[in-house]
């Protein structure tokens, strides 16, 4: 016993230390990573964001240097607050508030004190910066817009929020990320990879040189440039045409699905969202709840499509074999069912398909629609078959384009009608849904969806998923899904009479007033009733002016949908705008200067002010 006590204790302490060291070094070795190490400071070097070009190589957006004042709260030493606030041009209260927020976020990680200084502010501040421990200036790359249009396409970048930081460890407080439009969709391509420098510090937090001579440091990698499918000239022209109107224009290249123009109105100058005035400007745009300049009407707006929808009814009638092109229907100033009438305007009667399209006869399409639904044993099956035909045109669901916003629109299902008519207690027939025949009723489409089905008609039976990316300059190529044909449920041969009908619309029908010399266009006007609520009461407003078209008739180069809120009849605004856009794109110059002058000078602001005037007002005048 006396011989082994000391040996025992020695061995025991050996075991104890082994256990302790194992716990510290292997089991609980948490502060191992470089970024967590208190002796290593991590500095980032931000790369230039990739540029954006239009389809013709015109530069849309590049970069400018910007400087953020950053703080690491735990390193802040007592300072001359008054002098510092003077340099930053903020009040002492604001400064305290910012510092408090930074400390709450993290005492160890950097937070932004003042974002996006310009070169002049930076110059005056940088030479005094040494006085303020814990503060430093971080150089970043900011956007510099070369154009004043296409804000809705390009989107914008903004500081990351905590939700993004939690999800994606790449981002740190104060860094910028694409938050809308192409900037958001192609963030990974445009962003590049930030460089990182590890600096060894001593216990007084002084830099004592690069960590391990910089073997872990990386250089920033510049983001890739991208070329968009939009045509800057067309974008600019479209935006000018839409001044003082609300709505949008979507133009596609039917042969590829490339988006030639994507214009929403009203819009804003993208440069407003750069620099120190950014948050003030953003707030102003955000709170404009009447004009909604940040709201992309062509992707997010769900509207009743009106008469352009009739082309689809005709196609489905042919596809379902319930009508031939020769079948003519009489119009009695409208379509009579039961003791009700769905009204129509005056035109020759009876009409076959081509005439029906050219004159936009409501009665004709009500008859065709009824035959389609009634072909099936029950209206439920009829509606679902009709719906499935429509969905093959990319309607009623997200289209799958490469922009981060959108809506499904609405192509009603049988379930939807069963619910509103309380089936099976109450039965319903095809007549209960008859408004669908003329693009009113429950059907809702986004302008983008209207442009897409127009492109499908232009192609006589197929479309490509619309997309904004033309080329990623660098190792990446554009996603494969944009080069796959989507065939509609309707056969190619059935498209010819409808195309001919749309050509007649332009030749002698509802859009004959917008004829442009030398351009064989196919189109369809639309005049959609719409309602709003004022003080809880449903009030009808002036009709939406709608026009879809493609040109030339053979081998189409452009398919377009134009939507002007409360613009009254189809050819009044939308038709004219579509005509001008097509001429601009195909010919590069405008011959119908009379039409251009009318559109450029015309304003609908008075119309938009009506519902908010508090006075009784008349519509459709």
């Amino acid at each position: 016993m006396r011989k082994i006590v000391l040996i025992g204790l020695v061995l025991l302490s050996g075991v104890l230390f082994t256990a302790r060291l194992f716990y510290l070094q292997v089991y609980d070795a948490s502060p191992d990573s470089l970024s967590q190490n208190s002796a290593i400071k991590v500095m980032y070097d931000y790369p230039q964001r990739g540029y954006m070009f239009d389809r013709n190589g015109t530069l849309l957006v590049s970069n400018q240097p910007s400087y953020d004042v950053m703080v690491i709260p735990k390193d802040v030493k007592p300072l001359d607050t008054l002098e510092f606030c003077g340099l930053l041009k903020i009040t002492k209260e604001e400064f305290k508030e910012i510092l408090h927020k930074a400390r709450v976020y993290s005492p160890r990680l950097p937070s932004v004190v003042l974002p996006q200084l310009n070169k002049a502010d930076y110059a005056s501040l940088s030479e005094k910066m040494y006085k303020y421990e814990g503060f430093y200036i971080q150089r970043r790359s900011l956007r510099e817009y070369q154009v004043d249009h296409s804000a809705n396409v390009m989107g914008y970048i903004a500081e990351v929020n905590n939700a993004i930081i939690d999800k994606n460890p790449y981002y740190q407080m104060g860094e910028l990320i694409g938050t809308a439009g192409v900037e958001k969709e192609y963030e990974d391509v445009l962003r590049g990879i930030k460089g990182v420098k590890y600096i060894q510090k001593d216990r007084f937090n002084r830099d004592i040189g690069p960590y391990k001579e910089g073997v872990f440091d990386t250089l920033p990698e510049r983001g890739n440039d991208i070329q968009l499918t939009i045509d800057a000239t067309l974008q600019k022209y479209g935006q000018e045409l839409m001044v003082n109107k609300r709505g949008g224009i979507v133009a596609l290249e039917p042969a590829t699905g490339e988006i030639l123009a994507l214009i929403t109105a009203p819009s804003y100058d993208p440069s407003l969202l750069v620099g120190r005035e950014r948050s003030k400007n953003f707030t102003k745009l955000w709170y404009d709840t009447l004009a909604k300049p940040l709201y992309d009407r062509v992707l997010m707006g769900e509207y009743p499509p009106g008469s352009p929808f009739k082309t689809l009814i005709a196609l489905i009638g042919l596809k379902e074999n319930v009508v031939t092109t020769e079948d003519a229907f009489s119009c009695y100033g409208g379509y009579r069912y039961g003791n009700r009438t769905l009204g129509c305007h005056s035109h020759p009667s009876p009409l076959p398909m081509i005439g029906g399209i050219a004159n936009s006869c409501n009665a004709y399409f009500c008859n065709v629609y009824k035959r389609v639904i009634d072909k099936f044993p029950t209206p439920q099956e009829g509606i679902d078959a009709w719906r499935s035909d429509l969905m093959s045109f990319g309607l009623g669901d997200f289209l799958g384009y490469d922009l981060p916003s959108g809506k499904k629109g609405n192509i009603p299902t049988s379930k939807y009608y069963n619910k509103i008519h309380k089936f099976p207690e109450h039965k319903w027939s095809s007549l209960a849904t008859i408004s669908n025949a003329i693009g009113q009723g429950e059907v809702l489409l986004t302008p983008m969806q209207m442009a897409n089905f127009t492109a499908a008609i232009a192609n006589r039976g197929y479309y490509y998923t619309p997309h904004i990316i033309k080329n990623i300059i660098g190792p990446d190529t554009i996603p494969k899904k944009f080069t796959e044909k989507h065939f509609t449920a309707v056969e190619e041969k059935d498209f010819y009479p409808v195309v001919e009908g749309m050509h007649q619309v332009y030749q002698r029908g509802t859009a004959s007033s917008i004829q442009i010399p030398g351009i064989e266009m196919c189109g369809k006007t639309g005049t959609a009733e719409n309602f709003t609520r004022i003080g809880g009461k449903r009030v009808q407003l002036t009709d939406h002016s709608i026009f879809v078209a493609f040109a030339p008739m053979d081998n189409p180069k452009i398919a377009i949908a134009v939507f002007v809120e409360n613009g009254y009849w189809g050819s009044r605004w939308a038709g004219r705008i579509a005509g001008l856009m097509i001429e601009k794109y195909l010919k590069g110059e405008i011959t119908r200067t009379d039409m251009e002058k009318y559109v450029l000078e015309g304003s609908l602001e008075a119309e938009y002010a009506k519902p908010y005037s508090g006075q009784p007002f008349s519509i459709n005048r």
């Binding site: 510290l24 070094q25 004592i208």
Partner: protein, 418 residues
């Protein structure tokens, strides 16, 4: 005198372990004290260069120690002891105050710390007294004298103040126990330590409740043997009185810094930037090592000088950071191997003098090793004592070298005569 025969009889395993520890120790001091301002390797402003010089002088010292006739150490033990007591007392008159402790004689740029040498002298004196024919460790009078021999230098060291170095004299209980001191002294010491720590952790009242409960249970379990109730009560009261006096001493006699050191280990107050800074930084440095460490001179915490006193008392944190779990284990095994080997050789001694001395060496090295690494890894309160052969410092290195090589010489003579 240095016959070939004698020379090869030394225990080469112990010498190898000594060399390994000194070399590894120096490499870590080099890393911990590396700075850009060095003017070449032989710039004696640099800590590592000075330690290199100390090591070279140790070699000279070793040759001396091994050359001297082994009987000399036994014969002059009392003289060494008295000289070292005088040198400790002399500090009160001629000592140099460094870092708040008057533990040094200063000679120009170098200082000498007599407490480091007093350990070897005390070990010799104790070995001589215990091995005397007339000494019987079972007699109370002899126990008292032995305690006096080891307590005197400790008493002189405490007021320097250097309670850490004084604490080491407790190590002599182990050789005395080996020579027949009643085990009750060890148990009493252990029990007192447990009570002491529990009092700090749970408070005197908590300990009182615990002791009463324990006594009640023991009494109940032994009730068939008709236990003496008065005896149980007296022991319980004794324990409780001890707990309350510990509490009183801790709160009224100790300095705040002593209290803090205990409280940190007991997890009562965690203040990473204040008093717990040393231990906390040392633990971070060690944790950073992982399995294999960051590599020699690559430790970030070491380079940033985050661990205070890293080249002296906290040198093991450099081992932890730069050599990882693997390197730390090798150092721990080297120490355990060295101490076990010394005990093994001590048992083989033909003379009681050699055995007592060998046990004293093992016990002193063990206590240093246990307290130092316990402190650096955060399982023992901060007690400023060096890690033998590792920590920077001439006095410490020479003190331990003398302590160890006297035993190697005694052991070698043992071979010779056997």
């Amino acid at each position: 005198m240095i016959g070939n025969k004698n020379f090869v009889r030394f225990d080469w395993l112990i010498i190898f372990l000594y060399i390994a520890l000194v070399v590894i120790g120096w490499m870590n001091i080099y890393s911990a004290s590396l700075s850009d301002s060095a003017k070449g390797f032989f710039d004696f402003e640099q800590i590592y260069a000075r330690q290199f010089l100390f090591i070279c002088l140790s070699v000279v010292l070793i040759i001396f120690l091994l050359a001297i006739e082994s009987k000399f150490y036994e014969r002059f033990a009392s003289v060494f002891y008295i000289v070292s007591l005088i040198s400790l007392l002399g500090l009160f008159v001629f000592g140099e105050n460094i870092n708040g402790a008057t533990s040094w004689y200063s000679f120009g740029p170098f200082g000498l710390q007599p407490s480091e040498f007093a350990k070897a002298a005390t070990a010799l004196a104790l070995a001589k007294y215990v091995s005397d024919i007339q000494t019987d460790m079972k007699e109370f009078k002899n126990q008292l004298v032995a305690f006096l021999i080891l307590a005197l230098p400790a008493l002189f060291i405490i007021p320097q103040p250097d309670p850490g170095s004084a604490l080491i004299y407790a190590a002599f209980v182990f050789p005395l126990y080996r020579e027949g001191l009643h085990g009750v002294y060890l148990l009493l010491g252990l029990f007192a330590t447990v009570l002491f720590v529990s009092t700090l952790a749970f408070g005197a009242v908590g300990v009182a409740i615990g002791v009463l409960l324990l006594a009640g249970i023991m009494f109940y379990r032994n009730r068939k043997k008709r236990p003496n109730f008065i005896k149980y009560l007296l022991i319980a009261i004794g324990c409780i009185a001890f707990a309350f006096s510990v509490s009183f001493i801790f709160n009224n006699v100790f300095d705040q810094r002593h209290r803090d050191r205990f409280n940190i280990v007991l997890g009562k107050e965690v203040d990473a930037r204040g008093i717990g800074y040393n231990t906390n930084q040392s633990e971070i440095a060690i944790s950073n090592g992982g399995w294999l460490g960051k590599g020699w001179t690559q430790g970030t915490q070491t380079k940033g000088n985050f661990v205070p006193e890293q080249h002296t008392d906290y040198i093991f944190s450099t081992v932890g950071e730069e050599w990882g779990f693997l390197g730390s284990m090798i150092v721990v095994l080297l120490f355990v191997g060295l101490i076990v080997r010394i005990i093994f050789r001590a048992e083989k001694q033909k003379t009681q003098f050699g055995r007592v001395y060998g046990y004293s060496v093992a016990a002193i090295l063990f206590l240093h090793f246990f307290v130092n690494i316990g402190m650096v890894t955060g399982i023992f309160p901060t007690v400023g004592i060096p890690l033998p052969f590792f920590s920077y410092g001439g006095s410490a290195l020479w003190g331990f070298t003398i302590l160890l090589f006297i035993f190697i010489k005694l052991d070698g003579a043992n071979y010779h005569h056997g």
